[in-house]
Symmetry: C2
Subunit: 271 residues, 2 copies
């Protein structure tokens, strides 16, 4: 991968990287399309990163379908798939972690204590291997975006982080590989996340600015859904991930499945 990328760079060709854990959906494809528009060469990495999953999380059952992923990528016309093994990424004795304090604390960082060290470390490794000019992330994982941007700035990594809007189903549900875990009833209940964000954005547009009131709107809609159990529903700053701010962030269990979503309330919710 290093050699291929350096060859391209040697020919002054720009390189874009789209890091994924596979189980590709239209959200990933929107990142890939943007990467293809902005770069001469596009690399998609597929790596289900064990160190960003905590004990008891879904590393083992995380959806994997490499054959389908490769079909999708072949049609997308990208230039390389970077698909390292777990053994190549974390050989015996590997002991380095990248830790991004502050922005990785709270919310997802509280719910998933090792998660962001795992994310920051694997993204640092992927950026080292591919040395892209630009790397593409989805706004769906808003705190991940904030952590990666902070890391890139703090470590002077010579890459531009590009963030693409969340892709949603017709009813508003944010695309996620984990949606595959939902049964029919849970799938119907899962719309409560985007629905709550839409209601809060409408209230904001009508002039509501009180964080307590906006949080209440989010919670009321989520708690009206019997299958939903709210983990958090908060308003934070989009960069620091601390209050105050206009970014509404949600983590909700629908049955056994943990879903997240977010929306900047100062902007209209997409129809």
């Amino acid at each position: 991968m290093v050699a291929a990328s350096r060859n391209w760079r040697g020919e002054r060709l720009s390189v874009g990287l789209v890091p994924t854990m596979g189980a590709l959906h239209a959200g990933h494809l929107s990142l890939i399309e943007e990467a293809c528009r902005e770069n001469a060469k596009v690399v998609v990495s597929i790596f289900v990163n064990p160190i960003q999953f905590g004990p008891g999380e879904d590393f083992e059952r995380y959806p994997r379908d490499l054959e389908r992923d490769h079909d999708v990528l072949r049609k997308a016309g990208i230039d390389a798939v970077y698909q390292p093994s777990v053994e190549a990424m974390y050989p015996p004795g590997a002991s380095t972690r990248v830790h991004v304090a502050a922005v990785s604390e709270g919310l997802e960082g509280t719910a998933r204590p090792v998660h962001f060290d795992g994310v920051a470390t694997v993204v640092a490794k992927l950026l080292s291997a591919v040395e892209p000019d630009r790397a593409y992330f989805g706004q769906k994982d808003a705190q991940q975006v904030a952590v990666v941007k902070r890391m890139v700035r703090d470590l002077d990594l010579p890459v531009e982080i590009r963030v693409c809007p969340t892709v949603r189903e017709a009813d508003g549900l944010a695309l996620s590989s984990r949606n595959a875990y939902l049964n029919q009833d849970e799938r119907r209940a899962a719309v409560s996340l985007s629905s709550a964000l839409r209601l809060a954005a409408e209230a904001y547009a009508k002039g509501e600015r009180r964080p307590d009131r906006l949080r209440q709107i989010l919670r009321a809609r989520l708690e009206a859904e019997p299958l939903a159990r709210v983990e958090y529903a908060e308003l934070v700053d989009v960069q620091t991930f601390s209050p105050p701010g206009t970014l509404a962030v949600l983590a909700v269990r629908i049955g056994a499945t943990r879903l997240i979503d977010n929306h900047d309330l100062s902007k209209p919710f997409p129809t």
Copy 2:
């Protein structure tokens, strides 16, 4: 720095980086000479890195003489000095640290709890800014070398770490910017470190392999010096920095000055 380095790399010129904290001495010059032999372009960084100093350590009084350093570097014929400010390296909100577990624990890691996170983080940043083909470190800071090598391997950083032998005064004292802190009596007492390493290497050459006995030889020589206070005198593996191993590592206070030295006992001590 990024632009200069990328220009060179675009012309297929190899780039070597010698990271320093300034106060340059013949030890640094040996790294610079090696870098000049092996690379088309050589960058020397000068940065007294605050985050690798703990509270109560010598960050404030660490020797700084930029005018002299620049004279030295001008004569050495290098291609660039990279000399970022503390504010540029750690702007408000910077919160990322690179942590290398295992190899950074114990010995220097115990004596200086934040030290190696600071070292790993700043080296990662310097490597990002300069993107060298090779980076040069002195064997004098043996655990630092082990930490940096581990980090480079673990994060897939595309750089070769080159390690150069410790440069010593005629009486054996390892060159260090901190030697400037020593008064005349302390300077005489400081020879006890290299003298202890030499005695242990001689015992090893005569067949002594018992770690306890080799440690005893180190300690006996150090404790014979009234001005010396031993912090540690251990035998560790050169890569993992855990026992068992043939690398003798010493940390000793001579008066108020903390000195370190090391030698692989399986090799003859330089005369």
